[in-house]
């Protein structure tokens, strides 16, 4: 593998090499921009999920407190 790599022609530093490098870098940048935008979108989804989970947990806690503090029903009076 290494010998194959060393035998390969190096990127020529002429006009052609400059444009080829430019084109491949543009493609890489485009993909990076896309991934960055998707990353931001996923971060928004994550924070939304966290918020929803907090609301759900708070409601669960409130329901538990309400259940423990609810006054017991009066005992049936036998006649």
């Amino acid at each position: 593998m290494l010998s194959w790599l060393f035998a390969a022609p190096s990127i020529p530093n002429d006009v052609g090499g400059k444009y080829v490098a430019g084109a491949y870098i543009v493609f890489l940048l485009l993909m990076l921009i896309y991934v960055a935008i998707m990353g931001m979108k996923l971060a928004r989804i994550e924070s939304g999920l966290r918020e929803v989970a907090e609301i759900a947990e708070k409601r669960q806690g409130d329901a538990a407190v309400a259940a423990t503090t609810r006054p017991e029903a009066p005992a049936e009076v036998k006649s």
Binding site: W4, L5, A8, P9, I11, P12, D14, V15, G16, G17, K18, Y19, V20, G22, A23, Y24, V26, F27, L30, Y34, M38, K41, L42, I45, G48, L49, V52, I55, A56, R59
Partner: protein
């Protein structure tokens, strides 16, 4: 749901790109006429081909959406077009760089291949404002599907018209009387097409899973809001 198999697909894409780039820079011969500059061909042409195919795929999903009235197909159509537009941007920029290196100009307005691709790109660039100008979700999906079908049908027609026209400077590599590419270049090119198609599929799946997650989150929010609404309606005075 859409994330299933995404990991395998991503690994396959990375491996395919590694192999393709190795073939491009270490295996494919230097072209006699353009020299090293021709290496842009293995990036620019697959980007253009896959973006055009993606537009057609978007049209096919739009047909399925209209036939089956399933919102999933609308999402597939939207995401296919979205990723294809990104690929088209890549094809336009890399093509422009290649044109500058090869012809000395960033853009040649009297070249049918370039201008027709720009027209297709601009056509699909109007898809977003067209889609989001409609507020009603069902109407939005229906109209977007009609647009995707019409524009998708325009893509092969446009391609054939350009092939039939006389080219001024843009090369015609495939199906030419001269015989096209030599075997080593053809193999490299086919690998580039395959890896670009894999990348397209991975990004479509990635985008779909993100959209699905967003949709699930909205559903959760609605479900959490629902008990509050019921409570409000319970305390509201009843009108008999």
């Amino acid at each position: 749901m859409y994330g299933k198999g995404l990991r395998t697909l991503s690994i396959a894409t990375v491996v395919a790109f590694a192999v393709t780039l190795s073939l491009v820079f270490f295996y494919a011969p230097i072209e006699a006429d353009q020299g090293f500059l021709q290496k842009i061909f293995y990036l620019h042409v697959p980007l253009a081909i896959i973006s055009l195919c993606g537009f057609i795929v978007g049209g096919i999903f739009a047909v399925l959406h209209l036939r089956r009235d399933d919102p999933r197909y609308d999402a597939y159509s939207y995401v296919s077009i979205h990723i294809s537009v990104i690929f088209a941007v890549g094809a336009l920029i890399t093509g422009s760089i290649w044109a500058k290196g090869s012809w000395g100009h960033w853009w040649v307005w009297n070249e049918p291949t370039l201008v027709s691709f720009l027209i297709v790109f601009l056509l699909y660039a109007t898809y977003y404002p067209f889609r989001y100008a409609i507020e009603d979700r069902q109407r939005q999906a229906r109209y977007a599907s009609v647009f995707a079908i019409t524009a998708g049908a325009f893509v092969p027609l446009n391609f054939l018209a350009v092939r039939a026209s006389a080219s001024l400077v843009h090369p015609r590599v495939f199906a030419t009387a001269e015989g096209g590419l030599p075997a080593s270049m053809m193999l490299t090119f086919l690998c580039s097409i395959a890896s670009m198609a894999l990348l397209w599929t991975t990004l479509v799946k990635f985008e779909l899973s993100a959209k699905s997650a967003q949709g699930q989150l909205k559903r959760l929010r609605r479900a959490l809001d629902a008990p509050n609404t019921q409570a409000t309606s319970r305390i509201a005075p009843e009108v008999s």
